[in-house]
Symmetry: C2
């Protein structure tokens, strides 16, 4: 079975790739550059993960129109990437319907390759509150995809960690031998992770909860005593 994995280079997509690697005979990695502020660093993580997992083919797609469209602090230079706050609502880092684009591009590629599975490391609970990370979205999207592709195309959208806490995902990654030290999560920096943005704080807290020391370095001192 052929499986396409959406690999951003973060922990969730890495562990999803590790799961897909167990379940599929042939892996294909898809990465999107969309003018996000840490594009170069994510691309480096993607290349290192590609070296590690040796997928049959990779596709790197430029969707910089997401920057043209704007609406998110991750792509809009006029919007600041805020420090973590735990208030309700969709944070300003939300890139409107970004995961819709990821899966749509994967669908076209799947139809050409004859791949039956698309893996995406979306997380509904314990996540940033993005609407395109909800399980109900992927269930509805899978139906739409199978209605809008050839009759002989049958695509399953796999979201193996959608109900996991990030600390569980980290543990699964450790069990599967996923190279967590190669992953990148920081929204803000390209060299040393800031330790303060939404994504860094969630990562650090999850490693602490899993009682595992994060193998990457941070700009600020992190207390790793459990």
């Amino acid at each position: 079975m052929k499986g396409i994995v959406l690999v951003s280079g973060g922990i969730d997509s890495l562990v999803t790739a590790a799961i897909a690697d167990k379940e599929c005979d042939e892996l294909y990695f898809l990465h999107l550059n969309y003018g996000q502020k840490t594009e170069t660093r994510e691309m480096r993580a993607f290349r290192q993960l590609t070296k590690h997992y040796q997928p049959k083919d990779v596709l790197v797609v430029d969707v910089s129109y997401l920057k043209q469209i704007g609406g998110s602090s991750l792509v809009d230079d006029n919007l600041e990437i805020k420090d973590f706050d735990d208030s309700e609502g969709v944070p300003n880092s939300y890139v409107p319907f970004r995961n819709g684009h990821l899966v749509t591009i994967a669908t076209s590629w799947a139809e050409v390759l004859g791949a039956e599975r698309i893996y995406i490391g979306a997380v509904e609970e314990d996540s940033s509150g993005y609407p395109d990370c909800r399980e109900s979205f992927y269930i509805a999207l899978e139906k739409a995809i199978n209605a809008g592709t050839k009759d002989e195309t049958n695509i399953k959208i796999c979201t193996p960690i959608i109900h996991k806490r990030k600390s569980e995902t980290i543990k699964i990654g450790m069990e599967l031998g996923a190279p967590l030290e190669l992953s990148w999560s920081c929204y803000r920096n390209n060299e040393v992770a800031c330790g303060k943005c939404d994504s860094c704080v969630l990562r650090i807290n999850s490693f602490k909860e899993a009682k595992i020391r994060d193998p990457i370095d941070y700009e600020i001192k992190i207390d790793w005593d459990f």
Copy 2:
């Protein structure tokens, strides 16, 4: 009400724009370049239609990754754009899941603009047999989009000509004063339409059925006696 119209520059999207122009207070036009062989000519038609309808804003998006992904004679230089034949099955001009990309990009833009409607001139009957032109697809996709965007985002996908024969669409366009002479349909040529590809043959036959003479020129002689 704000409406985004997907305007390729062909007759179907032009007549859809004419309908949207009646129904919406504010129009927005979206055009995609995806490395199709007639990209320049379609872009010219798009610019002319923009001059005519004066939408509040336009977005032209480069999705040349569809050429990277391939699988269609419209984008792949190794696949020939065939002359029309009326055999069953999906023709080789089908760009895998292309309309999924169109609507997905429109969705991100709609979420940023606060637009409530996305218009697409897809046609199920009397069309080329593309799976991403079926009404069932748009119904399912609308559900997926509303599951995957913010709670305050409510998007309706409007497919006003999906059950029309192209000859009816042409008549509706005439009634609404749509500038049919500015539209472009040929898959093959950039200056004078070939008159022989799938798209030209469908256009010519539909004008004949509507008993209207097509205002554009063709490379071959067309018998316009009704």
